[in-house]
Every structure is written in C-alpha cells, then in structure tokens.
C-alpha cells in the first residue's frame, strides 16, 4: 500500500507492483477446504454493501412527492438508469430490470470509488472475485430471461443456430456463437472492469510513490516532485471519471445482453 511503500521510497525508487493488491487475512476462516478468510478487501466489500443498502433504504423509506436531500440524489440516479439504460436499450419490457441495473450500477460505482477515497485508496473491483461474480450474475440473468421469454429449446436454438443461414455455415458458426455468447461475454465484462481498476490504482500508486520520492530525495527533483503532486491530483479526478464510466459500461452491457435474450436475433 502507498503508506507502506513511502519509507522505502527514501532509499531509492521502488515502483509499485501487482503485490499492491495482496492483503493479509485478518480473520482466518476455512470451511471444508474453502478459504473464507476475511481481509481488508472483504471488510471493504461489506462496507460498500451496507452503504448501497443504506442509500436506497434511507432515500426511499418515506418517499415524498416533492423530493429533497438524499431522495433527490437517488431519484436522479434511478431516473438515469431507467431512462438512459433500461428504456433506451431494452425498451418498455426493460422496466422490470431497473432494480437490478440500479443496484449493479451503485455497487460497482461505490466499489470503484474506493480507489480514490483518502484513507481507503483501494478499488474493491480491482480484485478478480468481485467483477467475476457480478458478471456471472449478469450471465445467469440474461440466460434465464432468454429461457423464460422464448422457452428453453427456442432460446438455445436461436442463440446457437441463428436463423436464415445456409446449413453448412453452422459447422463454423455454432462454436463461435457458443463461445462468444456464453464465455466471452461474461469474461470480457469482468476483465474490462478489473483491468481498468488495476491500471488506475497502479498509476495512482506510481504517482504517489514518485511524489514522495522526488520531494525528499534532492534539491532539483523537488520541482519534478511538485509536478508529480499536481498530476496525481489530476489523476484522482480522472479516476473519478473512470469509476463512473466503468460502472455505466458494466450496467449498459448487462442491459444489452438482456435485450439480446428478450427477442431472437434476426
């Protein structure tokens, strides 16, 4: 972590590595060979889950006709998910997915936001487990939507054997469709979020460590240290943008996949 690497920086510059993302466990817990140990990331995940719950609960506990305060903010968020994502991408049928999409957006956004909150400085979604499980949720959702909307056989027939093709092309097309729909979709969904967050966190760490190193190591380097300091502040603003954008992309792609499962492709 940044605080731990700062003393090292005085003895020479040590660029942060992927070990930034490894945390020792606080409470060791093994259930039947499965490692359920609690470390800092898990605690942060509980915190984010609690914050998401609290935001929605306290905003809509006693909804007023003229919203104010928290209700106002959350209504803007839900309105955005409803109009810009559900209605725009899926259509009228998409309204029943607004709760899932809104929760997904809020959770991913707050998870990403941990990367720039002073005192936390760790993006929750920078660990593979969380994006992976969210991607699996979206996968299960769009497959079950497809099955319930079109029926089990029809859905898989439409997904794997798109109609209107010559018979022989299915030898080539079906494996591609199988891999791209049921494997590549969730994998890219997870890796896109993960890699963005890892990259953002590493860049921030590099600039923080470099600022500490340059400000303390010599006379001339203070000039560069100040430049690095200014740039690291600018990067925090950029990371805020990335956090919002990646949450938006994750949500909108989930919506696109759901929309694709609602109706057979033509």
């Amino acid at each position: 972590m940044t605080a731990a690497t700062l003393p090292l920086a005085r003895e020479g510059f040590h660029a942060p590595t992927i070990e930034e993302f490894e945390w020792p466990s606080i409470v060791d817990l093994h259930v039947g060979g499965v490692d359920l140990s609690i470390n800092r990331v898990v605690l942060q995940m509980f915190l984010v889950g609690l914050v998401v719950w609290a935001l929605f609960f306290f905003a809509f506990r006693k909804p007023k006709l003229v919203p104010s305060g928290l209700q106002n903010v959350m209504e803007v968020l839900v309105d955005f998910i409803r109009n810009q994502i559900a209605l725009e991408v899926i259509g009228r049928d998409g309204l029943r997915f607004v709760p899932y999409l809104a929760t997904l957006f809020t959770f991913v956004f707050l998870g990403n936001l941990g990367g720039i909150i002073p005192g936390i400085f760790f993006p929750l979604t920078g660990r593979m487990a969380l994006p992976a499980i969210l991607a699996v949720c979206s996968l299960l959702l769009f497959v079950s939507v497809g099955i319930s909307q079109q029926g089990f056989l029809t859905y898989f027939k439409n997904a794997l054997f798109p109609p209107g093709m010559p018979k022989a092309i299915y030898i080539l097309l079906t494996p591609i469709e199988l891999i791209s729909t049921f494997i590549v979709r969730p994998v890219t969904l997870a890796i896109r979020l993960l890699a963005n967050m890892i990259a953002g966190h590493l860049i921030l760490s590099v600039f923080f460590v470099a600022t500490g190193y340059l400000l303390t190591s010599g006379n001339v380097s203070i000039v560069f240290g100040l430049g690095s300091l200014v740039f690291s502040v600018a990067l925090i603003a950029f990371e805020l943008f990335v956090a919002g954008l990646q949450a938006y992309v994750f949500t909108i792609l989930s919506a696109v996949y759901i929309a694709g499962a609602m109706e057979p492709e033509h």
Binding site: I18, E88, V89, T188, I191, R192, A195, L245, I252
Partner: protein, 83 residues
C-alpha cells in the same frame, strides 16, 4: 567483427531486461487505439450531421467503446498473468 562490437552485443544481452508481457500489451493497444479513434470520430460526424440523434448515438458509442477496449485490457491483464 571487432572485439568491441562483440563485447557490446554480449553486454546488451545482460542489460536488456524486463517483462515481455509489457511488449505484448504495447502491441495489443495498437488495434483498439485505431478502433477507438474511428469510433469516436464517426460518432462526432454522426452527431454533427444529425444532432437530434445524439443521445442514441452516444449510447451506441459507449457500447462499441467497451467492446473495442476489451482486447487492450486482455493484453494488460495477461501482461500480469504471464511472467
């Protein structure tokens, strides 16, 4: 071949170090870079031709952006995986 040249070649063998995954990532960014350039350029073109379609075009741009970006991010992730 002079002795100095041989020595410099041998020395180069010792000084070049690092992770070849980073080179892979660099190569992996080329395609998505061109792709995102095309994508955003065409979006600007589309919006300036038909400003009332801006919302829809922007949504589609983000979807396309996310798909194009995926390959570069695979490169980034694999640079860490393969050491």
């Amino acid at each position: 071949m002079s002795l100095a040249l041989v020595n410099s070649i041998l020395a180069a063998d010792n000084t070049v170090s690092g992770n070849i995954g980073i080179i892979g990532y660099g190569l992996g960014t080329l395609g998505p870079g061109i792709g995102i350039g095309f994508l955003v350029g065409k979006t600007v073109e589309g919006i300036s031709r038909q400003p009332e379609a801006a919302g829809q075009v922007r949504t589609l741009m983000f979807i396309g952006l996310a798909l194009v970006e995926a390959l570069a991010l695979f490169g980034f992730a694999l640079a860490f995986v393969i050491t």
